[in-house]
Symmetry: C2
């Protein structure tokens, strides 16, 4: 059987002021009518029914997710007492699934990405799941790049390993860090590199074997949790384990070390919605490059991203600006400076405005 | 006796969204704790008491002005049924004063300018009033320019006519239109030009004689109004006269044609507060050139003017921007494009948002 594991642990700093600690990006309707996590769940439904969809999130967001996705099965929202990056999150889901279906397949998906070609995505998920079912592979979905993006990590393709239908699954030659512009241009031109999307598919048994091999301490913590799973001690056991658990990413901890890492190239209109600037692609632009939501009037504006919540926003004679208006905070930020939204939050914290974070 | 006539007919388009049709700039606290018109009235008090201060305004703003300045005497707020520029406004006040004190002196002041050196201003008003009392002069206060401003009209100095104390009053050689940059630089360097401030002092009889000579039709209309003044027919007579009255400025209609126009150079920290951009001077700047009001946090901003009304406004990595947040409208405008705030209002009108104007 195929299961979806949706990682919904994001902390919501990059979409301030729309996102806050209590309302991180995945819970918001930033891209469309529905929240990003609801969209993520509905997108996978043609391949995986509600009862086999699991969400891992911070405990402060579990209730809201239960509200947004009431169709999720009993026990399928796992609350982490603290964010520890992707490896513990995935491990928790994997060990939990190992009790239900140790030879099951798990598709791991971030809750806050967008995919435009949903049907093609589903086909690729099915392909990936088939390949995963046939062996002890750790498969990462690699995005065929359409521009020399410097904000993503890349995957270098190795030799082809499996052909199935029109798809080929490759060995991962190596994972590489976010490149500079020239390197990124080289990557794209070479056609040998994919964007590292953070979406995976593997057998539950395969990823558990990988945790045992590459993260034995994490694996041990999870075994302890496993003893308490589905008992009254479950939450306590998770709390205990997380108290001393190292925060580490699945890429760094497992994928980069594994010799059974494969990648399936996919071209599905993927967008990680990484910052306000990414929304020009998501929302679509007018012929001056302006992307807007809400009541916005622009006189001579160019390449602006404007979200107006409850009032009219008027823009005159500006370029490359992000304007986000919410009832209690307004952000005006240069488009190239979205990384400093975090810096701003530090400033706000130091000024005593924690209620606005 | 000296009277002040405060012109408060501004329509409030340039300070949108803070100013609206119902709340034009002169009624707002844009520059300080008090409204601009209240500030204008209090500034002149050392020279002219409340009972000799007259305000001419649009009838839709008369009640608000009565509220803001309850000390004004009975009948000293004159409501124009429609804005007809400065000549009719001044004529109405002059003819009304001619009934009370035909040989009185009237000091004409816009309601929405700022003056930093109030004591020096009062001294100059007194000087101007003395000179006006001694002859049939039309005296305009000319501002000693401190920069080659292209947004103002200029007055070219003629021969000195009267010396009194440390002041000299000059004949006006000519009024000149807003210059281009090079011309403005030449004007400032020559020391023979002043800014045309739109503030005047003259005898009531002198300006009435000028209206009779240069605007006979306006003068006739005013004579008709005069018959009805202080009777139950007053409002009706004003309505009738204004229905067909030409809109024309005192500069164009009278000052440029008069051969008895004098100018008194003054250097009093004058600011016409002509647009949002002017507020960097009024509010004062931080060492990055940012001028702010309300709760504003700036990370790497330069030369911005930000007014936040009810929430926090955060600025990241931008220059030369005007940001004005109000409860029902937000403006983000390049500092060099404040003239397009009017254009924006046309757009809003065409889109059906007249309620926001």
């Amino acid at each position: 059987m195929i299961y979806a594991v949706i990682m919904a642990g994001g902390s919501g700093t990059r979409f301030w002021p729309e996102s806050r600690k209590r309302r991180p990006k995945q819970l918001l309707c930033i891209a469309g009518e529905k929240s990003m996590i609801r969209t993520t769940v509905e997108r996978i439904l043609p391949a995986i029914p509600f009862e086999r969809i699991m969400v891992v999130t911070g405990e402060e967001h579990a209730d809201e997710i239960r509200c947004q996705i009431p169709e999720l099965g009993e026990g399928m929202i796992i609350a982490e007492p603290a964010g520890r990056n992707t490896a513990p999150c995935i491990a928790l889901a994997a060990y939990k699934l190992s009790k239900i279906d140790p030879e099951g397949i798990m598709v791991v998906l971030p809750a806050d990405h967008l995919i435009k070609q949903e049907r093609a995505f589903i086909e690729n998920v099915k392909t990936g799941a088939e390949v995963a079912a046939d062996g002890n592979y750790l498969i990462t979905f690699g995005i065929v790049p359409d521009r020399p993006e410097t904000g993503y990590g890349y995957i270098k393709l190795g030799v082809p390993v499996v052909k199935t239908g029109s798809s080929t699954v490759f060995k991962v030659d190596k994972f590489v860090e976010k490149p500079d512009r020239a390197t990124a241009e080289h990557y794209v031109a070479s056609k040998s590199y994919l964007w590292n999307s953070g979406m995976f598919v593997w057998k539950v048994s395969a990823i558990i074997r990988a945790f045992e091999a590459h993260l034995p301490r994490l694996s041990e913590s999870m075994e302890n949790i496993l003893q308490a799973l589905n008992t009254s001690r479950e939450a306590e056991a998770i709390d205990e384990a997380y108290a001393t658990m190292e925060a580490i990413s699945i890429d760094y901890a497992v994928m980069e070390k594994a010799d059974n890492a494969l990648t399936l190239p996919i071209d599905v209109g993927w967008n990680d919605v990484g910052s306000w600037a990414s929304l020009s692609d998501v929302w679509g632009c007018d012929h001056h490059g302006n992307a807007t939501r809400g009541l916005v009037v622009i006189v001579d504006g160019k390449d602006c991203i404007v979200r107006s919540s409850e009032k009219i926003t008027a823009i005159i004679g500006v370029e490359d600006l992000i304007v986000v208006d919410t009832p209690d905070a307004l952000l005006v930020c240069h488009r190239e400076r979205t990384q400093d939204v975090r810096k701003l939050q530090e400033v706000l914290k130091n000024l005593g405005y924690e209620n606005l974070l």
